[in-house]
């Protein structure tokens, strides 16, 4: 069959050609993002085993199980505490440190940048190892310095917050740099105009810096939330969710149930729950963000 190169055909061919650019990306996006989401939803209604030798439809069993499971509610609470604290602390501290670094009086600009940013490019595994040593109850230097015997990594009340602290140490440098570059792009005239008009030298942070950094904050928070899921490295190495389930978070719990114990149906129900949370959260965040950022413009 010969293609007739009429004008219309040529145009169709050109448009079809445009799809070729995106097909490789789409294939892998479908296989490793869309398909796993749908597969998790599907598998969450079944009982099965690791090699799928049987498939038994069980309806909402895994979901009722999930919502009646005390571990699940504990894990959700932990995930929320860990996520919120980590995001808030690394954003607020990142902002404050950037404020200090941006000062004209700062004499150690590049040393300061490097020393705060290096943890961000360190592997989580290295971060986990060093802190396991520093926080060791009898041999670690933190207890030696404080002259205490605190079980930093084996305490029902404390360990989750210790993990938050470590991930703030690991990630705050990134937010710091984002805010610093945001601050440096604020035109100096704004500050001059402010001090002329108001006759005050203070208050500029509240009235100029913070409002001008609206979009930067939006991005920083979004990235911090996405990044907070990487905590799984830290938890796997440092606590494995222990003591009890006091440091277990949703992604680690999915790993424990779905992969380590092969409860595929239950693990898939948990994954589905996670996707729903992410979806609701994304929609809410973008909706709020668009309104707020526009309002500030």
């Amino acid at each position: 069959m010969r293609l007739v190169y009429t004008r219309k055909n040529r145009k169709i061919i050109r448009v079809l050609k445009n799809y070729l650019y995106v097909i490789p990306a789409l294939v892998f996006l479908i296989l490793f993002t869309a398909y796993p989401i749908m597969r998790s939803v599907y598998l969450s209604f079944f009982d099965t085993d690791s090699v799928f030798s049987f498939m038994e439809f069980v309806g909402l069993k895994h979901y009722t199980e999930m919502f009646h499971n005390e571990v699940f509610s504990e894990v959700c609470l932990n995930t929320l505490i860990y996520g919120v604290l980590q995001v808030v602390l690394s954003t607020v501290l990142g902002f404050l440190i950037a404020l200090a670094a941006n000062s004209k009086r700062n004499r150690f600009k590049s040393f300061f940048k490097v020393s705060l940013f290096y943890p961000y490019i360190l592997p989580w595994t290295v971060g986990a190892m060093i802190w396991m040593y520093l926080l060791h109850p009898t041999r670690g230097i933190v207890n030696a310095l404080l002259n205490t015997r605190i079980q930093w990594l084996n305490s029902y009340d404390l360990t989750l917050y210790v993990l938050v602290f470590i991930s703030v140490w690991k990630t705050v440098g990134f937010n710091f740099l984002l805010f610093l570059s945001g601050m440096q792009s604020i035109p100096q005239e704004l500050y001059e105009a402010y001090s002329l008009e108001s006759g005050k030298s203070f208050g500029a942070v509240k009235h100029i810096t913070i409002p001008m950094l609206g979009p930067t904050t939006f991005v920083a928070v979004l990235l911090a939330i996405v990044g907070s899921f990487q905590s799984v490295d830290l938890i796997y190495i440092m606590t494995q969710g222990r003591p009890g389930n006091s440091t277990n978070t949703l992604i680690y719990y999915i790993y424990q149930e779905g992969i380590a114990s092969w409860n595929i149906g239950y693990g898939s129900a948990l994954s589905t729950f996670l996707f729903l949370c992410l979806l609701i959260f994304t929609i809410l965040y973008i909706w709020l963000g668009e309104r707020k950022v526009q309002y500030e413009k």
Partner: protein, 275 residues
């Protein structure tokens, strides 16, 4: 006078914060230089009585095949980087400047991926990798990372920023879209390509959880995985000097690269955040 005082306080605060952030790194070095009895008896000593750096290095080097892990990590990082470029540059180009029906809908899929990270789809992806017989292979580690939504996003923005007159005049001269991308577009968006390359290489060099899940044979391990297994084992014998030496082996190449190219590193991560 008052300004001098303020300056002093600010700089002291800056040095204190910097020192606190650097302390863990400093302690990796200090501990890697100490002998086992010293680590147990005098955890706070900064300068060891006898420098055990070389002895510790020899012991750690002798216990595992670190050269192999280096090769594995390097190979995997380069492979993932290369496929990500091959996939994301054309996609970013098409989403940025070409027109085709369903573009916005398809781009929504890219955006979904930004929120639904590979970690959150780990269970279903694990099953897929098993099914494809890719368990315990490099391909298995790579599969979920072939598409980087962040890369597509960055390159789309970059291509969009190019003046549209450039493309029109290239078309009039008879240049096809593909050749325009290759010979005009890619050279012009080079800074973005470099930025993303740095980010993705750092990320892959450090990746742990997924590569650990997907590999079981020790000779397939990458550095962070090998270092963790080594470290957890040494830790059970309280051999912190060796654990920290292993941490150094993983970290030093990366830290040196970071210190040499700190401007490029910092700029890359910042542009990734601003978009």
């Amino acid at each position: 006078m008052r300004n001098k005082g303020k300056e002093f306080v600010l700089n002291v605060a800056i040095l204190v914060i910097a020192f606190m952030a650097l302390m863990p790194l400093l302690w990796i070095f200090v501990t890697a230089c100490k002998s086992q009895p010293e680590i147990l008896k005098e955890p706070l000593r900064i300068i060891p009585v006898r420098n055990m750096f070389l002895e510790n290095l020899k012991t750690v080097w002798g216990r595992c095949d670190w050269i192999l892990y280096f090769k594995n990590t390097l190979l995997l990082t380069v492979m993932i980087w290369a496929v990500q470029m091959l996939v994301a540059i054309p996609a970013g180009y098409a989403f940025g400047v070409l027109k085709f029906p369903g573009k916005d809908l398809l781009f929504l899929l890219v955006l979904t991926r930004l929120m639904v990270s590979p970690e959150s789809t780990m269970l279903a992806n694990y099953l897929t990798v098993l099914k494809l017989n890719a368990y315990d292979t490099r391909i298995g580690i790579m599969l979920p990372y072939v598409v980087s939504a962040q890369a597509i996003f960055m390159f789309r923005q970059a291509f969009k920023q190019l003046p549209s007159s450039l493309m029109e005049s290239a078309r009039i001269d008879g240049c096809t879209d593909f050749r325009y991308m290759l010979h005009v577009g890619i050279p012009l968006i080079r800074p973005y390509i470099l930025s993303f390359s740095i980010i993705t290489c750092v990320f892959q060099w450090n990746a742990f959880f997924w590569p650990m899940l997907i590999t079981k044979s020790p000779d397939k391990r990458i550095l962070p995985v090998a270092m963790t297994f080594f470290g957890l084992q040494a830790e059970s014998g309280s051999e912190w000097g060796l654990t920290m030496m292993a941490a150094l082996i993983v970290t030093v190449p990366l830290l040196l690269t970071f210190i040499i190219f700190q401007k490029q590193f910092i700029n890359s991560f910042v542009t990734s955040g601003i978009k």
